[in-house]
């Protein structure tokens, strides 16, 4: 009798799972879900995706070895020039508060000229002792983030160049527009620092 009940329960669960799976597939094919970047996720979806992203990055970046020479002017200069070439369109620079990309992308890219506290969007710490934050930034620059507009720079840039950008990011929020211009300019005498 007990085994008969267990069997019918398993059948019920299997049928229920099948119905849910079919409903899910039907929803995917229905095209009901709004895919436009100007139509924001509801809170539950946003939370689920953000949690998925953060947990994934934390797990994947956990073993990254952080260089010991991050407190270097050479790295700042090299990373600054690359940041200016590759990142300002979305992540802005001192004196600039928005761009077409920062407004139009969803999820909106963090403004890296602000500290994490200033805009409430955690994009990593600004301390060279905050090892998990450094690893996180390195991992994101290297691997990018799916369906966010953040590309993976790893296939075309060496780890050293990516670490240089991480170093620059630590100091970016405190730079004035003048300091930023000097640090990031690739002048005629610039040897590229690469």
């Amino acid at each position: 009798m007990a085994s008969f009940k267990l069997l019918s329960c398993i059948k019920c669960l299997t049928v229920a799972a099948g119905v849910v799976a079919l409903a899910g597939v039907g929803y995917l094919y229905s095209g009901i879900y709004p895919m436009g970047a100007d139509d924001q996720h509801n809170d539950l979806t946003y939370w689920a995706l953000e949690t998925l992203r953060e947990r994934s990055i934390a797990r994947a970046s956990g073993d990254i070895e952080v260089p010991t020479d991050l407190n270097s002017s050479e790295r700042l200069l090299a990373g600054g020039a690359d940041y200016n070439d590759m990142c300002t369109g979305c992540h802005l620079k001192p004196g600039k508060t928005e761009s077409d990309f920062s407004i139009g992308l969803y999820p909106s890219p963090p403004n890296l000229t602000l500290t994490a506290d200033a805009h409430g969007h955690d994009h990593g710490g600004h301390s060279e002792t905050d090892i998990p934050a450094l690893r996180r930034q390195f991992w994101i620059i290297k691997h990018g983030i799916k369906a966010s507009g953040m590309p993976a720079w790893g296939p075309t840039h060496s780890d050293e160049r990516i670490w240089n950008m991480v170093v620059f990011l630590q100091r970016l929020p405190e730079l004035s527009p003048q300091q930023y211009q000097i640090l990031t300019a690739r002048g005629e005498d610039d040897d590229g620092h690469h």
Partner: protein
């Protein structure tokens, strides 16, 4: 077999080389590159600058060449002015001096 391993030895570096060629090359940006605005450094509050700070060191490093060039330019300009002044003084002195060859005319 030897040919196969030889192929790997040739193909692998060639493939890596071609991949690295796709990388974002800083030289691509040199055409539109701005020179560092080092004149702005002169207006900054030097009393509050920490020379041990990597940001400050990086700025100094970046502007060192530009500043040296400016200084050289100024020296040359002063030098030219000096020479020009000297030339004018010489001319005036020559005017005051009686020209010996004129007496012979």
């Amino acid at each position: 077999m030897k040919h196969l391993s030889l192929c790997y030895f040739v193909a692998l570096p060639a493939m890596l080389l071609s991949l690295s060629a796709q990388a974002h090359d800083p030289k691509e940006h040199m055409k539109e590159a701005q020179a560092p605005d080092c004149a702005a450094m002169k207006d900054m509050d030097h009393a509050n600058m920490d020379m041990k700070d990597p940001v400050m060191q990086a700025m100094m490093q970046k502007c060192m060449n530009a500043m040296h060039k400016d200084e050289e330019g100024e020296h040359e300009a002063h030098g030219d002015e000096g020479h020009a002044d000297q030339g004018k003084q010489d001319e005036k002195a020559d005017e005051k001096k009686p020209a010996k060859h004129q007496h012979k005319q």
